[in-house]
Symmetry: C2
Subunit: 184 residues, 2 copies
């Protein structure tokens, strides 16, 4: 716990596209070793992901195309923060845009990272309960299919080939654990 | 399940650094909508991550600096495939390099994605059991601290601020579930 963090001697932008920026960083570790690393510095470094519970056992998943993997996947509503939103506002907006529901009760579960070695990105996982129907137009190229699933059949969900996203799997296990504890 | 995948009309490399490549892709969805997306096409798109169990309840975590988030985090041994390795060889090599152990029993649990909207990356999660002490030199700038943790105290681990990686959280929950089922 008392490690001394590496000293960042230098950083510079080495490549950039419309969406992404890549930064080179020159580090000196506390033992004197020096390394040059690269990391992604955009797209937006912070977002939120909702676990929308329709009832005590039913989560609303969405089916969405992932251009990175070239597959349709079952995932959870998520997106980046927009202009000054707090996590509650962003979570509720994404939920309305992608799953056609708002939530009266929102609980922040965990701030998760993706690949902390070369990405600064974090996503806040939010449990959304006491849902009501309300839609907002999003920027999706096609309407997203909403797929209800029972958390009591979570193992069967995670076996599926169209469920691969680590943050989705982590969020669903966390939610199951929290709901179990609440009712025990 | 019968969605027609978007047609990839065109792809081209729009930015590149030593480590990363960024590809622009022009897509036409089945409803006729067209979009231009960007995605990361390197670093290596496939890797493995081990969940090393020292005994039925003790997992070996490692403490490693994440340059992307500029923090030391508790994580699991992982890395990219090297020259023709299969998942067993890669998992055992990473385990020896990063946690000072080999494993006689390796079980493939799940192929996970990170951010499938703009990354093609996948990591194979491997349960490693029947461990023995053996080290291989890695390319780490400093020796990694190995931190044993009880899976029976997984909730307390996940509450920690230095445990954030979604794939690590997902892998530990999956492992706990599998070991619980094995002994019930």
């Amino acid at each position: 716990m008392d490690e001394q963090k590496p000293r960042i001697l230098d950083t510079r932008l080495v490549a950039q596209s419309r969406l992404f920026g890549i930064e080179e960083m020159h580090l000196r570790f506390s033992n004197g070793e020096e390394r040059t690393y690269e990391r992604l510095c955009t797209p937006p470094l912070a977002g939120v992901m909702c676990v929308p519970m329709l009832d005590q056992d039913t989560v609303l998943l969405i089916r969405e195309y992932g251009a990175g993997v070239e597959e349709y996947l079952l995932t959870l509503p998520k997106g980046a923060y927009e202009h000054g939103e707090d996590w509650r506002e962003a979570a509720n907006r994404e939920l309305k845009e992608e799953a056609g529901h708002g939530a009266r009760k929102l609980t922040f579960l965990k701030r998760m990272s993706l690949s902390p070695g070369y990405m600064g990105h974090h996503i806040g996982v939010v449990l959304a309960e006491e849902l009501y129907e309300e839609s907002l137009p999003g920027d999706e190229p096609e309407p997203l299919e909403v797929v209800p699933w029972k958390l009591s059949e979570l193992d069967r969900l995670i076996e599926r080939d169209d469920v691969t996203e680590a943050r989705v799997i982590a969020a669903l296990y966390m939610t199951q654990r929290i709901l179990d504890q609440r009712h025990s």
